[in-house]
Assembly symmetry: C2
Homo-oligomer: 505 residues x 2
């Protein structure tokens, strides 16, 4: 590489790294806001966060970055498949997205979604969709404007929104995958219902003292590979994972004395996200190559540890004796298989975030089926409740009695997060496909889990996925690692196998 | 005020406020570093903090600030005794101090003190002063350079260093006050020793379960007026108070099951600092008028609540029954007066941070007596241990067996904090003088404390001291509030009164 190219690249890296450092300061403040901040600190905190976000944005969109990008894109000595090429591609993408949005639109969106979220909270409380309707309308229009400003080539406006969370994937890609998933999943879940079998659900709502839950969750997160020398688990109202940077990744969860799965599987889920953050290459921190690939890939890591590992029989063969010791009152007299069935209970329900591993995806298909026409202008915001209830009946076989159990349940649309939902189910598909590949590479994972051995899978994921950062787009990464294009089949195979045994179907 | 003046002033406020916002982001990160950060996060955190400090410095020293200051200083329509005049005076002071230091010196000082602190840790551990000597020498020389760069008018170089912590006060002011204090305090403490009386010290090292200490400390801090809706108390290795900004002030303490006073009086002390921060005018936040006056005034608030209130007999008349309920094993059978004597034990000892209310000041006098000649060049760094031990004998009547109990005990000099020590004893003097004035204004404070009423004193301090921010220099503020120039007499009167009763002297 020429001296000029290498010098320009190192300047670009330094600019990018400084913007990332500012964002990571914001991450610390954001974490504190959710965990320890006293109520009185809210206003000052929002001033601090706005300043940091503004400075980071200024850095990332500075004319200097644009010049360096242009210079480097014209250079003929950049290896096509190198880390450097990936960084240039991704910084260009971020730069274009950020600079194409007029300041007026960014500010209006920020103001509108802030008010819209408040309106959503009130409307959900009062089960009153009409109250929220004008805000849904405003946000939808603004998101359409965003799509126009960013552009979407030969595709549809929704592509421009999806790309924010899932770079390189289009509405058409998602539609193909989701249609196939729907075709297999809806009948599978219908069969579960027809089987008439149900687990003893009360097992999970017995008394699980919170200090014991805390200790048990931390021990499990540590056992699967989350490094507590470089991270923590704290309590927050909404569970999340925030990677501050090399050596520091924070997880949160919440405890309910009479609900075991919430904190436990929540912790495994966030630990899965956290292990991804901890597995990124610290030497590349601050550049795209040192950053998580996409939301779907991130979600694949959390779902894998939560569901494919944490809800497997092998995992509990290893951990159940310790669970019985830790919660003698709740589990002392309960056989492993009854517990195992209870944590894999499949039952259509209204609320997405409480849904099981299988029906969860139907909640996502429903939302995706509405987001596309909403942004395209083919679905009027006023018709959202009607279409929601219709699809709910079609996919889940149930209809909510009021909109707070239906189209008002999620914060996403009020917050302007359109194009975000699909990444959850894409994550489930990616998880299953990666898991099958790991199984091929590493031999029988179940017998490893039954011995409490998670290091081989963790190491495999670190090498194959985490260390690659954002070097390849998600679909390409999945194909490189598994040898196949992303498909819904591994997820269906996984569910068929597990539910087949449990429900005799 | 003319439109031009008012516009320039509001621009200056906005620049100053943004620099303060950046500093306050650093405060959040600094707090997290001391309380919750996992060990692995240290390197990334130092990168984050360095960036924020650099940006804040850049903001505060920008040519734009210099221009606005010049323009406003030339304006003829600024009221001499207004908040605006005070802000201009203080921003000018900070601006000059910051811009007079060459970048080379700032960087060298930062690098040297970072290494020097590491050397100090090792030297203290190994009780080996010669290991630290070259670093003390380097730091001393650099601080002399700092003093030269900043300037000190007709005074001495030490003035320029002291001014960083105690604006408007000179080495000559401190010398006068300290000489007078010394003349009265040394014989007073000698009399205590001669009295032969000692409290039952073991009372304080019985078993005080930590959860009970936590709850008891928080309740006491809340009772004296610290607002937990706008603040928290967490655990950290070094106790401190950090005001993030309006509505958010963090305190820390540390617990030892077998040492009651550490966490309890530590919490009252930090709560005193915190109540000052909480009492500042939020509308003026980000400008000097909305900032604490000086370190001595800050320390006066912490010492007042820790010692003048928290170690008073009236306070324990109110709280002791609850202490006995909370710690039945330790205090159930111990009469109030034995406990009260134990928490007011006066005894010369080696370590400053463990010293009692009276002898503490001798530790400060000793350090001040060495800092001045050290900076002036009249005391060679190599002669520090000798002079330390000599003064220790003279003031405290004891000599440390090794330097880790002597001149190596404090981090300050290794960190470049020269001119900081005097503010501790100045704070004690200010506390006593303010307390006497409050007593005059509010009537018998003791009977209020004995009823658990702290609101009158808290309100008085808020109005007279906190709300004034940095509007007046410390000495002027004290004189305005108490009607007298700062003097050592109120502190001596307080000690004579208390120790007179306890030791029969």
């Amino acid at each position: 590489m020429s001296h000029t190219t290498s010098q320009a690249y190192s300047q670009l890296m330094s600019e990018t790294r400084e913007a990332a450092l500012l964002e990571s300061c914001g991450a610390v403040l954001g974490w504190d806001e959710q965990t320890y901040m006293p109520v009185g600190g809210a206003e000052h905190r929002s001033n601090q966060l706005a300043l940091l976000a503004g400075l980071a944005h200024e850095k990332a969109t500075s004319p200097r970055v644009g010049e360096l990008l242009q210079q480097l894109e014209a250079a003929r000595d950049v290896e096509p498949d190198s880390v450097m090429a990936a960084n240039l591609r991704e910084i260009r993408r971020d730069y274009d997205r950020a600079t194409r949005l007029p300041k007026r639109l960014v500010e209006e969106l920020s103001k509108t979604t802030s008010l819209s979220q408040q309106a959503w909270v009130a409307a959900r409380k009062q089960r009153d969709f009409p109250q929220f309707l004008p805000w849904l309308d405003k946000v939808t229009k603004l998101k359409r404007e965003v799509a126009q400003a960013i552009g979407y080539g030969q595709g549809v406006p929704y592509d421009a929104l999806l790309e924010e969370y899932e770079p390189g994937m289009t509405a058409a890609d998602v539609t193909t995958l989701f249609d196939a998933l729907k075709a297999d999943l809806v009948p599978l879940i219908a069969k579960v219902k027809e089987s008439g079998r149900v687990p003893r659900r009360e097992i999970l709502t017995r008394r699980y003292p919170i200090p014991a839950q805390q200790q048990f969750s931390i021990a499990a997160a540590e056992a699967i590979g989350f490094n507590f020398q470089q991270g923590r688990l704290d309590v927050a109202h909404h569970p999340f994972c925030s990677g501050f940077g090399p050596g520091d990744c924070r997880l949160t969860t919440r405890y309910n004395e009479h609900h075991f799965p919430g904190a436990f599987f929540g912790t495994l889920h966030e630990a899965g996200h956290g292990m991804y953050e901890q597995g990124l290459d610290p030497a590349l921190w601050g550049s795209p190559a040192g950053r998580a690939c996409s939301l779907a890939i991130h979600e694949s890591q959390s779902r894998m540890w939560e569901n494919l590992v944490g809800r497997s029989r092998a995992f509990w063969k290893w951990l159940y004796p310790r669970a019985q010791e830790t919660f003698p009152e709740a589990l002392g007299q309960t056989p492993l298989d009854e517990f195992y069935f209870a944590i894999n209970d499949v039952q259509p329900s209204f609320i997405r975030v409480e849904a099981d591993e299988a029906t969860y995806n139907l909640h996502i298909l429903l939302r995706f089926d509405m987001e596309r026409p909403l942004i395209a202008g083919d679905l009027a915001p006023a018709d959202v409740p009607g279409m929601w209830n219709e699809l709910s009946q079609k996919y889940l076989g149930i209809q909510p009695a009021h909109d707070s159990d239906g189209c008002l349940q999620d914060i996403h649309w009020s917050a302007g997060l359109v194009g975000y939902f699909p990444t959850y189910s894409l994550g489930n598909m990616v998880a299953s496909q990666l898991f099958e590949a790991a199984h091929r590479d590493l031999g029988d994972l179940s017998s490893q889990f039954a011995r409490g051995e998670f290091q081989p899978l963790h190491q495999w994921l670190t090498t194959k996925v985490h260390r690659e950062g954002r070097r390849y787009p998600a679909l390409k990464l999945v194909e490189r690692v598994t040898g196949e294009p992303l498909s819904h089949r591994p997820l269906i195979r996984h569910l068929q196998h597990k539910l087949g045994t449990l429900y005799g179907i």
